[in-house]
């Protein structure tokens, strides 16, 4: 008996709807990154807008980064003291704090704050521009919106995040110093001498590399989600939300990979 045509299931997806969307999404992000590199190296360069964006990225997150960097330094010192005190090794606190802050905490804390503050802002701003046809308006006025909006923002956050990481590190160390000075009466010079003696050139380099990778990730995730936002205001909210979630997830994945590579080099 021949099967009835209406009983034959129509196969619309290669795997399943979700799996297809997932792999299509990865391919689209890949295309987005390729386009970024193409546009980033083609003239005309948007120097003025890059400088504007660098200013916004720095100013928008400076107060939050200062506060969290300081708290991180103080809290980490407080948490580490009892363990070291058991072995009578509180004099090692500056070394421990500097290694922890420079190698891991400063890049990670700064990147997570950047994802929440700057990444979400990029997603929402570009998403809002997309759904209100401002990106289309830019395009029809003879401007390349990808270059003007995306390339400038991604470059700005990739350049600014290493500076912000360095700043967070210093503020974190300052918080740690104040706590150590209060409890162990260590002098400023002795603290920083001990702290910086424990840090190698590789530690600083690895932090810069991490910051560049995290900055690029936050920029791409925020801009991608915003640039392709749809479904009106709901889409804008989703773009901001996805920008943060994806950035944070990717930051932890990259942290794991970079630490493995740096340890292999070390």
């Amino acid at each position: 008996m021949e099967p009835h045509i209406e009983n034959i299931p129509i196969r619309r997806y290669v795997l399943s709807k979700k799996a297809d969307e997932f792999f299509t999404g990865i391919y689209n992000v890949y295309q987005f990154i390729i386009l970024f590199f193409k546009e980033a190296f083609l003239s005309p360069f948007e120097w003025k807008e890059i400088i504007n964006q660098c200013y916004y990225v720095g100013v928008r997150s400076l107060s939050l980064i200062s506060l969290t960097g300081f708290i991180t330094g103080v809290v980490f010192t407080k948490q580490s003291r009892p363990s070291l005190a058991e072995f009578g090794a509180t004099s090692w606190l500056p070394s421990l704090i500097s290694i922890a802050v420079i190698r891991a905490l400063a890049p990670l804390v700064t990147a997570l704050i950047a994802a929440g503050k700057i990444g979400s802002n990029m997603g929402a701003e570009l998403g809002s521009m997309k759904v209100t046809e401002q990106i289309d308006a830019m395009e029809v006025s003879g401007t390349n919106p990808f270059k003007y909006l995306v390339v400038t923002r991604v470059i700005a956050i990739t350049l600014m995040l290493p500076i912000l990481v360095f700043y967070t590190g210093l503020i974190g160390m300052l918080g740690a110093y104040l706590n150590i000075h209060q409890n162990e009466h260590t002098s400023f010079v002795a603290f920083f001498h001990s702290a910086f003696n424990s840090i190698s050139f590789l530690d600083i380099n690895s932090s810069i590399i991490k910051a560049i990778c995290y900055g690029f990730t936050v920029g791409i995730a925020g801009c991608y989600q915003g640039y392709y936002a749809k479904n009106g205001t709901r889409g804008v909210g989703m773009a901001a939300n996805s920008a943060v979630v994806i950035s944070m997830f990717m930051i932890f994945v990259e942290e794991m990979v970079i630490v493995q590579v740096i340890n292999a080099i070390r």
Partner: protein
């Protein structure tokens, strides 16, 4: 509408569309559109919501790629040219968006300066400011120069959107629902502004609208999109004297039930 200079008998069409088809997720929106629009002509396109009117002008401006067919704008096939050529061509096409699409992080002055600073890099700052003041005066909003878009009313936003289009002195002007969401008095003002702009710039206009008063005031030719195809274009009176269900329902809605 006063008689205007047109290349209908002599020149090449400014916009030439042949067998244009476009579908979205299997839904055929434009199904073989054919039309020639000549320099100085003003054509209004009527149609139901979702009939593909806005898609048509987005294809003309290169924002959407057609599935098939030929779309020539100022002699160039819009979906075949490279990015740089397209950008250069777009400086000759003005687009007034339904939502006005003003850049909300920029003041009115910056909104108007944006296309000039991007495309005419040889202009001095004083020349740009002069152009902004002149075009703002033209739309009657000189006092709004330093306002932000969220401080403007819907009608003012439309005017600024038109001013931003005019500042590049385009050869083709595309209006997407210019009177949508406006009260009747403001709609009349916008219609008069469009007519004044047409007379001043002698540009070609394509006006997408639901509003028959807008179509009657601003266009010298009207066409209707029905099931993805154009009805034969004609003057406003010709179109509405035909025995066609779509045009009759448009007419009844606009002039009887409103």
């Amino acid at each position: 509408m006063p008689e205007k200079e047109s290349d209908h008998d002599t020149g090449e069409p400014v916009i030439s569309i042949r067998d244009l088809k476009k579908s979205f997720e299997g839904n055929l929106v434009l199904d073989g559109i054919n039309i020639d629009i000549f320099k100085g002509e003003n054509i209004a396109v009527l149609g139901r919501s979702g009939s593909g009117k806005s898609v048509l002008i987005k294809i003309i401006s290169g924002l959407i790629k057609p599935d098939s067919g030929i779309v020539k704008v100022l002699g160039q096939e819009i979906d075949k040219i490279g990015r740089k050529e397209l950008q250069a061509l777009r400086t000759k096409i003005g687009f007034s968006f339904q939502s006005s699409a003003l850049y909300d992080s920029m003041s009115v002055r910056e909104n108007l300066a944006f296309p000039l600073t991007r495309n005419k890099r040889d202009l001095s700052n004083s020349e740009i400011q002069l152009a902004i003041e002149s075009v703002l005066g033209g739309v009657g909003l000189s006092e709004s120069i330093d306002k932000m878009p969220d401080e403007l009313s819907g009608g003012q936003k439309k005017r600024i959107g038109i001013a931003r289009m005019l500042i590049m002195k385009p050869e083709i002007m595309l209006y997407d629902e210019p009177t949508a969401g406006l009260d009747p008095m403001t709609s009349v003002d916008i219609n008069n502004l469009i007519v004044r702009v047409q007379q001043q710039y002698n540009a070609t206009s394509v006006i997408i609208t639901h509003d028959l008063t807008c179509a009657k005031t601003t266009a010298d030719k009207v066409t209707v999109i029905e099931e993805g195809k154009f009805l034969e274009p004609g003057s406003f009176d010709e179109i509405f004297s035909r025995d066609n269900e779509i045009t009759r329902s448009f007419h009844d809605y606009n002039f009887i039930n409103k």
